[in-house]
Symmetry: D2
Subunit: 213 residues, 4 copies
Amino acid sequence: MKAILLTGFEPFGGEKINPSLEIAKALDGKETETYKINSRELPCVFGEAIDQLRLAIQEVKPDLVVCVGQAGGRPDLSIERVAINVDDARIPDNKGNQPIDKPIIQEGPVAYWSSLPIKAIVKHLRDAGLPASVSQTAGTYVCNHVFYGLMHEIRQSSIRGGFIHIPFLPEQIQTRPHMASLSLDDMIRGIETAIQVSVDYEQDLLLEGGQTH
Amino acid sequence: MKAILLTGFEPFGGEKINPSLEIAKALDGKETETYKINSRELPCVFGEAIDQLRLAIQEVKPDLVVCVGQAGGRPDLSIERVAINVDDARIPDNKGNQPIDKPIIQEGPVAYWSSLPIKAIVKHLRDAGLPASVSQTAGTYVCNHVFYGLMHEIRQSSIRGGFIHIPFLPEQIQTRPHMASLSLDDMIRGIETAIQVSVDYEQDLLLEGGQTH
Amino acid sequence: MKAILLTGFEPFGGEKINPSLEIAKALDGKETETYKINSRELPCVFGEAIDQLRLAIQEVKPDLVVCVGQAGGRPDLSIERVAINVDDARIPDNKGNQPIDKPIIQEGPVAYWSSLPIKAIVKHLRDAGLPASVSQTAGTYVCNHVFYGLMHEIRQSSIRGGFIHIPFLPEQIQTRPHMASLSLDDMIRGIETAIQVSVDYEQDLLLEGGQTH
Amino acid sequence: MKAILLTGFEPFGGEKINPSLEIAKALDGKETETYKINSRELPCVFGEAIDQLRLAIQEVKPDLVVCVGQAGGRPDLSIERVAINVDDARIPDNKGNQPIDKPIIQEGPVAYWSSLPIKAIVKHLRDAGLPASVSQTAGTYVCNHVFYGLMHEIRQSSIRGGFIHIPFLPEQIQTRPHMASLSLDDMIRGIETAIQVSVDYEQDLLLEGGQTH
């Protein structure tokens, strides 16, 4: 039985809802034969978000950590490949911080790879009829911040972890014509699938998932 | 009991599947208290597509006609507002025709409005958690061709009709990273909703659905 | 010597500048062997914009009218094909009007074609190294409103006219990462080219310029 | 007098031209009071591209290396922030290689930062009326491959270097409606500006250039 830590963020950027939090709530406590999910809410605040993630890791003692964040405008479940060691905020966070070109961990490496089986996840999501891609950038805001903080925290442990970006919910695009969205049901199904695949695959599959630029 | 004619297209542009046809098949014969659906497949061929639509209208004697077509790359259910009297083909149709700037109906008006309650449909789709927008252009290919042909055919009748563009299916974007798609279940649910709303609303709602450009 | 009426709009939607107005100012009074340009500024206000366009037509007595408007986010010079008889405002105009699904001209036809040689313009713009396409929709805001009003006004005259949408200027995208723009010099060169081509071509070229959806 | 090595790529992906090569040719031999440019063509081939870059560095003995590559579809000059240690090819390179998830340098770190003053470059490009942004990913194809290879090669030297992605030329989008492009003149002006700024700024400016996702 694997312990899973699943995190979602509070709303930010003027939104009233954050689909990542709705997914985390919906899956909190879910138990299968092979894993059990513990969900936590993270603040959309530089620094505090990593602090709370660290606490949650201490409490839950997870085998696997999946952090989820909203990427409004993206059309699919984006399985992030790499976290980079920089905060560069285009908009202030929920406490008004707007760091520019600050390292997340002073002495940390430039980047960390996700240790989730990202190609296997994309394959299984697509087989399940869900839009999914590998993403080569998680941005430079609080999502990448948490992703990098996570990978740094678990770098010498047996814990595996990674980050998944998700689209807006249909209710968030009511006044935005022709913007992409995904239903909450599909998102929940997608994150469940990603967790199951992460439990099942110790090693990733060798499948193409790159971009020419 | 309203008779509904629902049409989908055969695959085109190198695709092996056309989601509009899958929807039409899935809903063929569906009967509720207020309507019954008859589905037809249309060829992706200029001229022939309208001929077969005309035949289908004679056979089915519909109260309402909903034509559906694939708009690969669009992220939502696009309820088309207007059909224009021109064929201008960027790629050949399935019989190799590639008309440029030819009127669809020689003496026809420049354009016809959809007579579906397009704003009410968008509202109900969004309320049902589906991504949807009013679209101001159905293009200049076989979809617009059929849409214009339909509106011309029923212009002096009591039949109402219109056109809905749909995204790719997830299986169509396997090798296209970060392209939008929608599951077949959601598409079917969306077209059912659009038909139900069209039966329910004789008059459209006064809701914003425009674009600045 | 042809008299050309060229119009641009005042800024709207929170912008401090409108590239269409900068182009109109830059080309006002320009004279070649075959034409002379008279420029006018139009308000971004439903109704008033058409009123002022009508006055300008009476004053300038043009052979050719080219109206230009900003389409922030579009990456190229978009030569509009068709104007539709509806106002449907996603945002209020500069006087707070926000009409929804109102006809522009009560008894007007559904749509008018541009009478500019749109394919020839696109060809010459591309040959001049400028990004350009035919556009199948001018939206449903003040740009389409003026375009429709123009084509209605000149419908029984020998005056030819049409509408061109242009991207943001580089200075308008400073805080919008990875949004398209075009330099003012290129825009001016593009509109001059479009005017010259419109003077030179009484008949349009038969070139593909459509969209599949 | 600084020695500048400027590289462009041969065409790939079915294109007949590569704007990065046209820029490199146009600026080859250019000399100002502060720098002189030596240009080189790189093959669009994994492995060989880095080999030739290494040779060019030995020959030119540059103070500064700017590698340029085509990013068809992007609307602006993208100053790349970070190179990652992976090849993941969506399409084969010009010799048919299609590596998947292979490290570029077996024992290399996950990523290297650009050592160009990327924020200062973006600022000066925008001040010069050119569309520009910081980019958080150079992809996983030959461009990122060369970028990573460059930064690894110069990691312990005083040479500074980085990578810039550029849009299509207008001539490359003739059959692609509404795709972004930039004129060759603007591109050349942009790369010259980037080089001048790189020579002028030892330290980067502290300006926002991030993305939320």
